[in-house]
């Protein structure tokens, strides 16, 4: 039977099942919500009704042969790809699967250091060895940029045995690398190109966006459909081209994937894919219009800098995703995280994140013009009420790490716990990061320096939410036992 983008096979199968009023003597035990009325009243009967288990008419995510297979075929088409997997463990699970596909223990993988923690977690799981390419840093904004082609080339030449190269595209802030040329270069050296495209779902559906991973010829990409794509939180796509053995990929995914995949998540992916395939162009045109409007208004307040394509430098900022609303806040004398807190505490506005120098407001088709006006006015008011002189603000956002051990070796090694402030000179065995964005300040195997400790303390003082260490209060740090202080 021919499939069209107007179809949504999982969604349709669920609707059919609901009409059949099948008597459930299977899990989940809430039995269409009747067994847990408080939850049903909270989430709604319609929602509980489709929280069902795999069964013949609904297919099975671990081994798809009917409606899920059809839905994945449609998703692959929509993303200009050869095959696609529905992922229910977030984009984290997609990133981990693509690294586990490409690398076995001891294999090298080239990646920028400013990857999401999920990528470094995959290195701990697989034992793959990272070859870090330090991203360019914009000194004014203090943010890590894309990968420069020359640095990628150098890493490839120095590590011809590397199995894959991973690219973060776009970054949280909207910055894109030269994906086409990086891909070409990697393929010339027989390396797979893996893309963390968590923030780039819209590249496949809107107009005038930077090139998508599949269109650039990359091999595998992880796409957070739940970010700009409109599906439920935790649902995601793993997308791949012809060069990838999708049956082996399915086995890799099944190593860690649940056998009770949520049909709420699966149907949300199915419906959202259909919606974007049919209406994505208009949806994202509207999103861009709102983001551009907000950017020009925020820039007219003064002090704030909502940046965009003017940053493009032909290399480490090869392109910019204009649907992102990233704002540099230091000139008004406030750290990004402070503006983030004021927006929520004083103005009831929740944005995506604030770091030391920037905030990011996530703009999507769900936004209304009047809410954008509120955000702009609140920023204007925050400057008027709380703004200070911009002096004495720490600007350094990205610190190039010194890697002493592989993440896996460090993570599983004998370790001791030290007060954070005494850890300088030791090799860290765990992560320290601000969440969001979830990009590690320290990863397992990296040398702790005074500069890094100062940065962590500053981030804490400004109110960043720090995560990652065994010590829930982030006051102590696990370090390698056998390492001599330098």
């Amino acid at each position: 039977m021919a499939l069209y983008q107007t179809d949504a096979p999982i969604y349709e199968a669920l609707r059919k099942l609901r009409r059949m009023r099948v008597v459930p003597f299977d899990v989940p035990g809430h039995k269409r919500g009747r067994g847990n009325m408080e939850l049903t009243e909270f989430l709604g009967e319609d929602c509980m009704n489709v929280d069902v288990n795999s069964m013949k008419p609904l297919d099975n995510l671990c081994h798809p042969v009917s409606v899920i297979r059809d839905a994945e075929t449609l998703a692959a088409q929509a993303f200009h790809a050869a095959s696609a997997f529905f992922m229910v463990g977030g984009t984290t699970s997609a990133v981990q699967s693509m690294i586990m596909y490409a690398c076995k223990s001891g294999d090298k993988i080239i990646m920028p250091r400013n990857v999401h923690r999920s990528a470094i977690n995959a290195l701990i799981l697989t034992g793959a060895v990272p070859v870090y390419v330090n991203p360019d840093v914009n000194a004014q904004l203090g943010i890590a940029l894309g990968m420069s082609l020359a640095q990628v080339e150098q890493a490839i030449l120095e590590n011809p045995d590397a199995k894959a190269i991973m690219v973060n595209n776009p970054t949280y802030y909207g910055i894109c690398s030269d994906l086409r040329r990086i891909t070409k270069l990697a393929h010339e050296h027989n390396m797979l190109v893996l893309v963390d495209e968590a923030h780039g779902t819209h590249f496949y559906f809107g107009e005038n966006f930077p090139v998508s991973a599949m269109d650039a010829g990359a091999d595998i990409t992880s796409v957070s459909m739940h970010k700009s794509g409109g599906s439920l939180t935790q649902s995601s796509f793993l997308i791949m081209g012809k060069s990838v053995n999708s049956d082996y990929m399915r086995q890799i995914i099944n190593l860690t994937q649940t056998t009770s995949a949520s049909y709420l998540l699966l149907s949300s992916l199915d419906i959202s894919r259909k919606r974007l395939a049919l209406m994505g162009r208009d949806i994202f045109a509207e999103t861009i219009e709102m983001a551009e409007y907000a950017r020009s208004e925020i820039n007219s307040i003064g002090g704030y800098y909502a940046y965009s394509k003017e940053l493009i430098n032909g290399d480490s900022i090869f392109d910019f995703d204009v649907s992102k609303l990233s704002v540099y806040t230091l000139p008004v004398g406030l750290a990004g995280i402070e503006v983030y807190d004021y927006l929520r505490d004083e103005y009831d506005i929740q944005i995506e994140f604030g770091d030391i120098g920037n905030i990011l407001a996530y703009i999507s088709v769900g936004d209304r013009k009047r809410d954008i006006e509120r955000l702009i006015s609140a920023l204007s008011e925050i400057k008027r009420r709380f703004g200070r002189s911009g002096a004495d603000m720490l600007t350094q956002e990205y610190i190039s790490p010194i890697v002493a051990e592989t993440p896996r070796t460090a993570f599983y090694a004998d370790k001791v716990s030290l007060p954070l402030n005494e850890a300088s000179g030791h090799v860290c065995t765990e992560f320290v990061m601000c969440y969001p964005p979830g990009i590690p300040i320290l990863a397992p195997g990296e040398l702790v320096t005074k500069e890094i400790i100062e940065y962590i303390n500053y981030a804490r003082e400004k109110g960043c939410q720090l995560t990652g260490t065994e010590d829930i209060n982030i006051e102590r740090l696990n370090v390698l036992k056998q390492h001599n202080k330098e």
Partner: protein
């Protein structure tokens, strides 16, 4: 045949007016607009099905939101009115010879157009040469204003729908910035009676208290609004709403009014205990 307009004042309370005929129904980019004729209340305007004004009782609202700040401010010359596309506030303001300019900011041009056509009793003075009309979001307009107005009148709809931005802290903060040193902001402050309205009233009161050194509330009786018991907010940097009332000066103007007078002005700031308590809770 019986035709009734019904508005739900709470999920369990309805308010109905028998309609003689419907004169207009249309949708703008922002909302649905309807105009009806009725025997009891005369002509009336609704937005998204919520009562905005009737010919019979609009004078109460418009006089109370306009004359209270005008009688307190020592020399109001430049006035900003936000919302108020029906023109009722403008009608009252244009009666003051001392007023030099009135900027009217209404988000919905169609409201003004419909009111000009069907509600000449309120829209009658929109063509006064002191009046400048801007069709834009009030939140956006005020963001750019600094030290510019003597009085700001916020004649908003409800705190949901197109007017919700006019109940936010960022908006009140921008108003404070836009006012001169002895400026006054008056706003439609919802009702204290039904619990949902009361919660909205408390929320906006808290935000105004956070934005202005002086913030007081006064009341009026408006039969066609939920519960009929309605509040207004009076906020300023310096002027006290009762102590700074210049009764003699206002009475010298000889304005004929149906509801407002300077004795009532002082009395309107004396609130029932339950309302005082609600306000104190968030101050």
């Amino acid at each position: 045949m019986e035709l009734w307009f019904t508005e739900r004042h709470t999920p369990n309370v309805k308010f109905s007016i028998k309609v003689d005929r419907q004169l207009y129904s249309g949708n703008s980019e922002f909302q649905r607009i309807d105009v009806f004729d009725s025997k009891e209340f005369g002509r009336f305007l609704t937005l998204d099905g919520y009562m905005m004004l009737t010919e019979k009782d609009e004078f109460i609202y418009h006089e109370m939101i306009t004359h209270v700040p005008m009688a307190v401010h020592p020399d109001p010359k430049n006035i900003l009115v936000i919302g108020a596309g029906d023109g009722g506030v403008i009608r009252e303001l244009t009666r003051y010879p001392g007023v030099e300019s009135i900027d009217l900011v209404e988000i919905d041009e169609l409201v003004v157009e419909v009111c000009r056509k069907y509600l000449p009793s309120t829209a009658c003075r929109l063509d006064d040469k002191r009046v400048n009309i801007y069709y834009e979001d009030g939140v956006k307009f005020i963001r750019r204003c600094e030290n510019k107005y003597d009085i700001i009148i916020v004649d908003s709809t409800d705190p949901f729908g197109p007017g919700e931005g006019l109940f936010t802290k960022e908006f009140y903060g921008s108003c404070s910035k836009a006012l001169r040193e002895n400026g006054v902001m008056v706003n439609q402050h919802e009702s204290p009676f039904y619990s949902e309205d009361a919660a909205a009233m408390q929320r906006s009161h808290k935000r105004i208290v956070d934005s202005f050194p002086i913030s007081r509330v006064y009341q009026a009786h408006i039969p066609t609004y939920p519960s009929g018991h309605w509040l207004f907010g009076f906020a300023s940097k310096k002027c006290h709403p009762v102590h700074d009332l210049n009764s003699a000066k206002w009475n010298m103007l000889g304005l004929k009014t149906g509801y407002y007078n300077t004795k009532l002005h002082a009395g309107a700031f004396s609130l029932p205990n339950y309302v005082e308590e609600m306000l104190r809770d968030v101050e």
